[in-house]
């Protein structure tokens, strides 16, 4: 017997985690890109 509650939890949590983690990574790439630019300008 399939535990559909767990299946739905895996789907919802899984897909949102994939998008959130890659979204945060995008933000981090932009952030460290900007930080590097200002650091290089300061040098």
């Amino acid at each position: 017997m399939v535990d559909w509650n767990l299946a739905l939890k895996i789907f919802a949590f899984g897909l949102s985690t994939v998008f959130c983690s890659l979204g945060i990574l995008i933000a981090a790439i932009y952030a460290f890109g900007k930080a590097l630019k200002s650091f290089e300008k300061g040098q």
């Binding site: 949590f13 899984g14 985690t17």
Partner: protein, 368 residues
């Protein structure tokens, strides 16, 4: 005399063994003659052949040689992370850092993983088995193997072979879906040349990524940490020997062990089941949906962004590096021979690897 005959394998052969020999010969033929994933299909095919020789006891628990490869290599989680170390040392994240929004396409292409997950549940598989089947849609062999060994080791042969087979069939599976979901004018969209990425950015990327991903999905750490370590070796420039070893010698050694261990799990009694055919069907469904989702997400993003992206690069989010990116380039070049999409497609392509590892981490955390 009879006792002597009984010690030979010949009279213990079963029809199942013979069928598996045919499958082994088919794999070796496809690898050598058709050049389909030869680095894996040759050792897998040979592993299938020898594990289906009666009385060799190569997979005898605690004794057999191939059992030791399988147990210490795969069950102890050694081989897939080492493969990721080598992949990291071979991967250039530059195109993705230059255009970070393509990371979202790598996430979108994981949609097929969940379609196939539910498909497998409806076909009667349990949750851990469905996770192992769904992850085929990520088109990432080592991640599929890593997930299956944890969640449904009895399906390892089927999921691994399905993942690698579909990866080699990317140029056949993806183009019809890409053409179906895009218009001629969309396929002709030209993308601005990517900006150059500095060495500092490339060095920082693996450090930032390992922090972000492993904090959010700790279960993905074994694969993600090794992936990013390999990439740091490559980009930092001060450990060229380690980078070369990870990308070449080590990668080759673990590929041999991986291939023969996977093949060794495919004994007749394990593999000749109706379940295996369902695994292959659901794997194909996962692949097709992942391709379609990547393209549709790119089209959706185009509704909101100024600089349009060519939706063909969305299909590269299924990983299968670099084959899927090459397919984007080929299909794009057919619409406009002056359109160069390869480097743009490498962004979602490598992002797809990260996305698949995250999806696998969630499966392991919740279904393991």
């Amino acid at each position: 005399m009879l006792d002597l005959i009984l010690t030979t394998g010949v009279i213990h052969l079963t029809i199942g063994n013979l069928v598996m020999w045919l499958i082994a010969f088919l794999f070796i033929y496809l690898a050598i003659v058709k050049n389909y994933e030869p680095l894996l299909l040759v050792p897998i095919g040979f592993g299938i052949l020898v594990v289906n020789l009666p009385l060799t006891f190569l997979m005898e628990e605690g004794q057999g040689l191939l059992w030791r490869f399988y147990h210490f290599g795969l069950e102890w989680e050694i081989i897939p992370p080492l493969i990721f170390l080598g992949l990291g040392a071979l991967t250039d994240f530059g195109p993705m850092i230059a255009n970070p929004k393509t990371l979202i396409l790598g996430a979108g292409a994981q949609f097929g993983v969940y379609v196939s997950f539910f498909g497998a549940l409806f076909l009667g598989f349990n949750i851990p088995e469905a996770c192992s089947i769904g992850i085929i849609g990520g088109a990432d062999g080592p991640t599929t193997i890593y997930t299956t060994v944890h969640l449904a080791p009895h399906l390892l042969g089927a999921t691994a072979v399905a993942a690698y087979s579909y990866m080699s069939l990317v140029p056949i599976i993806q183009p019809p879906i890409m053409r179906l979901l895009t218009t001629e004018s969309e396929r002709k969209i030209k993308m601005r040349q990517l900006r150059p990425v500095s060495k500092r950015e490339k060095i920082l990327f693996p450090l930032v990524t390992v922090l972000v991903i492993c904090l959010i999905v700790p279960a993905s750490a074994p694969l993600m940490a090794m992936f990013m370590l390999g990439n740091l070796f490559k980009e930092c420039g001060v450990v060229k020997r380690l980078s070369d070893a990870a990308a070449n010698e080590l990668m080759n050694i673990v590929t041999i062990l991986l291939g023969i261990s996977v093949g060794a799990t495919m004994s007749a009694e394990n593999f000749l089941k109706p379940q295996v055919i369902l695994v292959f069907i659901m794997g194909l469904v996962a692949f097709a949906f992942s391709t379609a989702a990547g393209i549709m997400l790119a089209k959706f993003m185009n509704l909101f962004i100024k600089e349009k992206i060519n939706p063909l690069i969305g299909s590269a989010g299924v990983s299968a590096v670099p084959m899927a990116a090459r397919v984007s380039q080929i299909v794009g070049a057919k619409a406009d021979p002056k359109n160069f999409l390869l480097m743009h497609a490498m962004g979602p392509n490598v992002a797809g690897v990260i996305g698949t590892v995250v999806a696998a981490g969630v499966f392991l955390a919740l279904a393991g």
